[in-house]
Amino acid sequence: MSHILVSPLNWGLGHATRDIPIIKNLLDHNHEVTIAACGNARSVLEQEFPECRCIEYPDYPVPYSQSRFFLPKFVAFFPLILKALSDERKNLDLILAKDCYDLIISDNRLGVYSPEIPSVFITHQLHYHLPLVFWPAELLAVAMNGLVHEKYRHIVVPDNPPDMTALAGKLSRPGTEATKKRVYFSGILTSTHNRDGEEDLDYLVMISGPEPQRTRLEKILLPQVQMIEGSRVILLGRPGNHAMQKQSDTCRVIPYASTRDKENLMNRAKFIICRSGYTSMMEIAELGKRHALFIPTPGQTEQEYLSWYYEKKCWFHSQSQYRLDLSVDIRLAQQPGYTGFPKMQKTEENVKRLYDQVLAQYIDR
């Protein structure tokens, strides 16, 4: 039995939730897992794995912007992120001094590695997308990524290899030799399961992501959802508020749904409307949903790129929240030209392969 330290980033829940199948697999192999995280990421994993020890391990400040201009705020946040990175390294030394670990798994936490212990880095962003005018910064970011990746034995990318089925497009394309040597494409990883059942819900609207853009989207979408026909469920993604509001016989508004409830609703939905965050994309791919409408968070270049990329590939239709006309965009999204994601291997097989081909060499000795 080996001891593994798993540390996800707490910028949204996506990092923590995609680690769930990996942790489950490690526990199935009778390994001991310690979770080092903070905030909601820690809460989710603590709830999911009460048998695992959890350590409070702060990460980086979140530079989400009040306006559409995410990039300038992100740049202004660099010194704070650097300070947090320095603290992260010091705190890791303390964690490693207290216990023995055989493997470290860092989900997008740049400073969670050790030269003495095999370390694996999980990320779907080997390449950052910036507006064309900032191309020198995009090249610089690729080079900086390479420097970070040198610290790890493997870079696990929860995406298919860069071919026709790559979900993250250029984001998951390795740019430096250091990255190319270490990269392992695991395929999609998500905690959402495909449950065989009837698709009896016409529309599922998931309003999520960082504030204040979440509230803005809620204000844009709620009146428009009333205008469409068919059964509808709207998830508002407001933690701490669980009281259900019923708008009509065919329309329910749920302020906050548990992971399990959300999974059930996603399985039942014929059509999904949501942000184009990568975690949601993996969930939709896992469930094999073919009809969806994506609304990228303004200023989040990753989501804007994914929306553009899926339009280009004719997989899904996307629309800016500022130009959204729900009835028109739903009609466009349902056109036969949009095929949905191509068929791909699902999480269960991917996580087994990840264990056999990457993780086992460090812990099954």
Binding site: A137, L147, K151, K170, R173
Partner: protein, 72 residues
Amino acid sequence: MDDLVVTGALGLIGFYLAAVLLLFAIYSVTRLMYISLTAGNFGQVLGGTIAILIAGSLYLAIGCWLHKTDRI
């Protein structure tokens, strides 16, 4: 200090220096153009404008080429 943090700090300093340099260059060129314009030196204004357009186009062309060849 940890080498990752040192690299990050150096990268950050380089990034901010480049930003300051760029702003200074924009300020200097704008000032030069304004002085030429007020002095009635239209030849210099025209030359400066053409140079700016060529530099800007070249910059964007490199960006487009990198994008088209899937480098960014």
